[in-house]
Amino acid sequence: MTSTTHRPAPSTDGEPDAATGGPTARPATARRRRRSQHRPVWEEAPGPLGFTGKVVLLAFIVLAVAFPLYTIMLTSVSTQADVTRSGGLVTVPGELSLAAYEQILSGGIVTRAALVSIGITAVGTLLSTVVSVLAAFGLSRPGSFGHRPLLFVLLITMFFGAGMIPTYLLVSALGLIDSYWALILPTAVSAFNVLILRSFFMGIDPAITDAARIDGAGDWRVLFQIVTPMSKAAIAVVALFYGVGYWNAFFNAMLYINDNAKWPLQLVLRSYVLQGATLPGSGAGQIDVATGAVTGLPVKMAVLVLAVVPILLVYPFVQRHFTKGVIFGAIKG
């Protein structure tokens, strides 16, 4: 990428073709109705075969993602009778019932695991985001004292990981086995996320922060009153990355949490839904399905949906910020 300057477009993902169809292609006044108004004038419209092929391919891609989610959600609100009739996952809605959700949410293992996961995700995301915003701002002014060595401390962790065994030995030496902090602290800072924020902060017009400094604001005040409000999009994306990371974390819990009363939702999902079905036990503590409250396909699918729903809830609010910039800025540093 030698001379490519990424235009810092405040637009969303949907807009980039505004760049491909310049003013020559699309005069604002004379819109063409017959051909796609978004198509540049120099580009030939696809033939019927190409168009059909494209539609079929895109439909397949969308269905490949959407269909499994649809049938799993439908099964979770179906009755056991419908499940038996369809011989597994339900594809055609029959009688709908929320019984599965009532069962898993009325106390017991799944409820507790969901609460554990919510707690870890909330505390972890808050901690990680605050620490990362602070670090990113602290590193956002090249030439500041200690800037280079401090940045290096961060960067090295991207290229060399310590490995699972020493990390486990450390967590265990710190007495964090079976502590929720073991699921938060070791993964609390991601250099990648700090770099996303840092590159965003560095893109803020220095004239703005300089003006605040001239008015007597210190670095803390500049960060909290000027930079943070201007960076909501980037902070939201980073918070999502952290939040999803904590919510989805499964292996750390498998390593550090032996007490299955403290299991987060992903581990419960693994034991009851994944292993309870056809996968035999492959490691840490497997629980007899009979003693748990979880039986039947609708209930299993309800646990699965429970693990997906928080992501589905947060995703739409953050998704529009996945501009090319956030990701590109991050990869490029």
Binding site: T20, T167, I208
Partner: protein, 365 residues
């Protein structure tokens, strides 16, 4: 990729000033920062970007004593401390903790009192068949996914980029990005429900009189299965960076190509793909550096179902040898070896990219 005449081509919809961007790439986003701070920064792949950017705007570049600089920047340093402290404890102490690889570590004795054994654990590693089997599996999976996973996001990005209606495109993007945010437990469970022995496909096949379909426990097709899972989870998300690169292609290049009589495919070959080349190389480097890391969570979830033969990779080997079997030093040696080789790989790949005139992952500005 030049911005020479981009001013008159881009025109409407571009808030920033391309001319200025060409002159000072690193300041480009700053220029557009007033209304909505830009998310993108410099065009060049700069991670360590000392001396670029805005330092001069705040403090004129003259010699300031380090004491004065320390006093001036103490808040900034203080801000980085929580992160530095967390990394020091949870990233750097474990790096030092790799010394157990040269010990006969026992949890009861601790690092201080365990016996030092020199290179014994590494010697054991080199004659251990299971270790080399894990290395082989790891490289096999990497190679397979390089061929069957890596190009998928590129093709998808090209396909999606040809969709003209913004609303259709954003909708499709929102849907295909989504699985990236699901955990591996969810993804594997979804696949189990679809392709497992009691799953959707098996049921439909059974209706047609074909019994015994179970992709989840078949070691022979395991490579295909995990690649399908990776594609389902991450191909959509992998698209994002290619779409970003595509959106920076100067439309004048396409217009010129059309004038020269290039058809759709030749435009892809001569304009689009060259524009994607830096990104493709960047991602290839990153993938090569990660050659020894293949979906650890994904594999450990399925190790029991398909068996060790097909699914044991370096990371699962380390986990089972260390945490499960308690052979801590042996496992640490395997993990350390992996870490060092990975580091060499990523640095080497980056060097290679520089030799070919690409920007690579990092460079000093």
């Amino acid at each position: 990729m030049t911005h020479g005449s981009s001013q008159d081509v881009r025109g409407r919809g571009d808030a920033d000033d391309p001319a200025l961007a060409t002159v000072a790439p690193t300041a480009a986003s700053a220029a557009a920062g007033t209304a909505a701070p830009a998310l993108a920064t410099a065009g060049d792949a700069v991670v360590v970007d000392e001396g670029s950017g805005r330092a001069g705007a705040v403090q004129p570049r003259r010699k300031v004593s380090w004491r004065a600089r320390l006093a001036r920047d103490r808040s900034l340093i203080l801000m980085t401390m929580p992160a530095v402290l967390l990394l020091a404890v949870f990233a750097y102490i474990p790096i030092a903790g790799n010394v157990v690889a040269w010990q006969d570590y026992s949890p009861f004795l601790g690092i201080a009192d365990s016996q030092w054994v020199g290179w014994y654990n590494f010697q054991r590693l080199f004659v251990n068949d299971a270790f080399w089997h894990a290395v082989g599996n790891t490289l096999l999976i990497t190679a397979f996914q390089l061929v069957f996973f890596f190009p998928v996001p590129i093709v998808m990005a090209l396909l999606l980029n040809s969709v003209m209606t913004p609303r259709v495109r954003t909708t499709i993007q929102s849907i295909v990005y989504l699985p990236h945010f699901f955990s591996w437990v969810i993804v594997v469970t979804v696949f189990q429900q679809l392709f497992g022995g009691a799953g959707f496909v098996a049921q439909r096949l059974a209706d047609l009189g074909y019994d015994g379909f179970d992709l989840m426990t078949d070691p022979d097709t395991f490579l295909v299965l995990i690649t399908m899972q990776s594609v389902w989870k991450d191909a959509g998300w992998g698209m994002i960076i290619f779409l970003a690169a595509l959106s920076t292609v100067d439309p004048a290049l396409y217009e010129a190509a059309v004038v020269d009589g290039a058809n759709r495919w030749r435009r892809i070959w001569h304009v689009t793909l060259p524009a994607l080349r830096p990104v493709i190389i960047l991602l290839l480097i990153l993938r090569l550096g990660d050659a020894l890391t293949v979906g650890f969570e994904q594999l450990i979830l399925q190790r029991g179902a398909v068996g060790v033969d097909a699914s044991e990779v370096l990371d699962t080997f380390v986990y089972y040898q260390g945490v499960i079997n308690g052979d801590w030093s042996f496992a640490a040696a395997a993990g350390l070896l992996k870490g060092v080789v990975s580091l060499v790989l990523v640095l080497g790949a980056n060097k290679l990219a520089h030799l070919f005139g690409e920007a690579g992952v990092y460079k000093r500005a």
